[in-house]
């Protein structure tokens, strides 16, 4: 219990640091966000309009006051309003985008670990053999592919040539197939490599020999002794997955026009919408902290040796 509390506080501190850092960085940024904003009629802004916008967003206040306001708004869950739309708060959009990214991430994770663990185990059982060596090279190749290129290859194959899985239109589940395959399969190659190494390590361990010498069935040896121990590092991998998934999803979302956090962030960077960039950074930090926390809990559950440290 004490451990959980400590981690929770730790997480809060990190968020605070990230928020402050973002604030500092944004205000160091050159360029005025309102240089290119135009009003409703589409005309270029006049100096007056720019000033008005600055006042609305509080950008004419001295920095310390802006910081205080920033923190207060953050606490209230208010991430500011869009520069472009003038009056719409950006929080709901960011949250909605985050939700869509999480959906993609979850689907990709299922593909990733489903295929990856299976392959890794299969390879380890067949080691050393021709099939194992071939797959080792294959996973290296897939792992090195650029994720966006792979996405286009899949689009080319399935959408253009075979006409399945429309990228635009259609049911969400349909639209989810190709992007999650793209993200998931490349991840699966990495997972397979990692898991194979873990399994081989364990396979040669002394306690596996003991288990065999005790006369346990092959199934019991593999499941209770080999897999059980090889899965502990996999849990760590699971915890690391979220940052990698998020990175990859930026590209995948672009390829498949999936309106998640990645797409939002890229558009914001190009459009110089600093507050959206800040908001996405914060949400991403939050996600990473939560996933680290969950991974840590899982790890402690799986490996009795990790419980010794509080």
């Amino acid at each position: 219990m004490k451990y959980l509390l400590r981690r929770f506080v730790h997480g809060l501190v990190v968020i605070f640091i990230v928020a402050t850092l973002s604030f500092i960085l944004i205000h160091l940024a050159p360029g005025d966000p309102f240089m290119n904003v135009s009003d409703e009629s589409g005309l270029q802004t006049s100096a007056e309009l720019q000033e008005r916008l600055q006042r609305i967003h509080g950008l004419d206040q001295p920095i310390p006051i802006q910081y205080a306001l920033y923190l207060r708004n953050l606490f209230r869950g208010d991430l500011g309003v869009s520069y472009r739309n003038g009056s719409q708060p950006i929080l709901p959009d960011v949250v909605a985008a985050a939700g869509r990214t999480l959906l993609l991430g979850a689907a990709a994770l299922i593909v990733n670990f489903g295929v990856g663990l299976f392959l890794g185990t299969w390879q380890a059982i067949r080691h050393p053999s021709r099939a194992d060596r071939v797959l080792t090279v294959a996973t290296l190749v897939v792992y090195s592919l650029p994720v966006f290129w792979f996405g286009y290859v899949l689009v080319f194959l399935f959408v253009e040539r075979l006409g399945l899985f429309p990228v635009i239109g259609g049911h969400v589940a349909q639209r989810l197939v190709l992007p999650s395959l793209t993200l998931g399969l490349i991840g699966a190659a990495a997972t397979a490599r990692f898991h194979r190494a873990a399994m081989l390590n364990v396979k040669n361990a002394d306690y596996v020999r003991t288990a065999v010498a005790k006369g346990l069935s092959h199934r019991d040896v593999v499941v209770r002794h080999i897999l059980r121990n090889a899965l502990t590092p996999v849990i760590t991998l699971l915890g690391l997955s979220l940052p990698l998934l998020l990175s990859g999803s930026v590209f995948v979302e672009r390829v498949f026009q999936w309106n998640g956090l990645g797409n939002l962030a890229v558009n914001a960077v190009q459009g110089r919408e600093y507050n959206v960039v800040m908001a996405t950074t914060l949400i991403v930090s939050l996600m990473v902290i939560v996933s680290n926390f969950v991974a840590d809990l899982l790890h402690r559950r799986a490996d009795p040796r990790a419980r010794a440290t509080t």
């Binding site: 361990a205 002394d206 306690y207 020999r209 003991t210 288990a211 065999v212 010498a213 005790k214 006369g215 346990l216 069935s217 092959h218 019991d220 209770r224 002794h225 059980r228 121990n229 502990t232 799986a302 490996d303 009795p304 040796r305 010794a308």
Partner: protein, 327 residues
């Protein structure tokens, strides 16, 4: 009296990228019920491979058993059993204790569970009954607070304790033979003595035969009824403990005994056996010990000596004894 375990012409080779490793070459010995056989030799002598071969714990490939090899338990040749039959023997009729207790137990399962696992693999009793038996076994091997300690994980126990757990696991199904592969080598000297005492005690309680493998002659002195001395994959001398320690026939055995430093003789250098064990891919021709033997004869590098009887149940493979006694 028929022996409970009989090993004849056991040959175990490994086919590696560096050549064929002839780890065990034509080894034969017998163990009677309730008897303790000690197998002693330096590292590289093939004693561990012999132990692993008995339970077929050798991975094939790269391992390979010679066609004449026979390992008989109550008349059945272990080398010819199906994997299902083999599993029934492992842990139940013949069980094994390994050298490094720290790494020989699964780190994510409690020690109690690992005993229970063995029991339930060989009999259909309930979990609670198996657990009760496991706790009792842990008590028998001398673990204090057994009901509590049974729920500990291996990393929470010391080496000596873990070795006791391994012995408990090994004896859980009342095996006929217990193979102990250097069980005390990784432990402190004081703990070593405790484990040997424990084994002597358990021998009386359970009555199993023990095959005790070690490089330490001192340990065997108290425990073994008979001793086999191994060198370079072969048994070079075989007899009762009294015979081996009292009237060693093979120059290698004599060398081993002389190498043990004596507390009562303060003067003199430490005696060793000159040279070192040759690589198992290229054993010397003739008698494999000849390059290091102080009593070498001319024919020793030509032909391999046959076993020569030098006493009742005492044989030594050495040309020095052929003039006096043909087998």
């Amino acid at each position: 009296m028929t022996p409970v375990l009989s090993v004849s012409n056991l040959t175990t080779h490994f086919h590696t990228a560096d050549g064929v490793v002839r780890a065990v070459d034509d080894v034969s010995f017998e163990v009677a019920a309730g008897e303790t056989l000690g197998i002693v030799g330096e590292s590289g002598s093939g004693k561990s491979v012999t132990a692993l071969s008995i339970l077929r714990l050798i991975e094939q490939p790269p391992g390979w058993f010679g066609p004449k090899s026979r390992i008989e338990l109550d008349g059945q040749n272990i080398l010819e059993l199906s994997s299902k039959e083999l599993r029934k023997i492992r842990g139940a009729e013949i069980s094994m204790v390994f050298q490094e207790p720290g790494t020989s137990l699964n780190p994510v399962l409690t020690v109690g569970y690992q005993v229970v696992e063995t029991i339930r693999a060989h009999s259909k009793i309930s979990r609670s009954e198996a657990w009760r038996q496991a706790v009792q076994l842990l008590e028998t091997v001398g673990i204090p607070d057994a009901p509590l300690r049974a729920r500990d994980y291996p990393h929470q126990m010391s080496g000596g304790m873990l070795q006791r757990v391994m012995i408990a696991i090994a004896l859980s199904c009342k095996p006929k033979v217990l193979i102990a592969d250097e069980p005390t080598t990784a432990l402190d000297v004081t703990i070593q003595a405790q484990i040997v005492d424990l084994l002597i005690d358990l021998k009386k309680k359970f009555g199993m035969a023990i095959v005790f493998i070690t490089h330490d002659l001192g340990v065997l002195a108290r425990l073994a009824d008979r001793v086999a001395v191994m060198y370079a994959g072969q048994i070079v001398e075989h007899g009762t403990a009294a015979q081996i320690y009292g009237e060693p026939g093979h120059p290698y055995t004599k060398g081993l005994l002389t190498a043990v430093p004596r507390v009562d003789k303060r003067r003199g250098e430490l005696a060793g056996i000159p040279g070192s064990v040759p690589a198992a891919t290229a054993w010397p021709a003739g008698c494999r010990f000849h390059p290091r033997c102080p009593s070498r004869l001319a024919r020793c590098d030509q032909e391999s000596p046959p076993p020569c009887v030098i006493g009742p149940g005492h044989t030594a493979d050495c040309w020095l004894h052929t003039e006096s006694n043909e087998p």
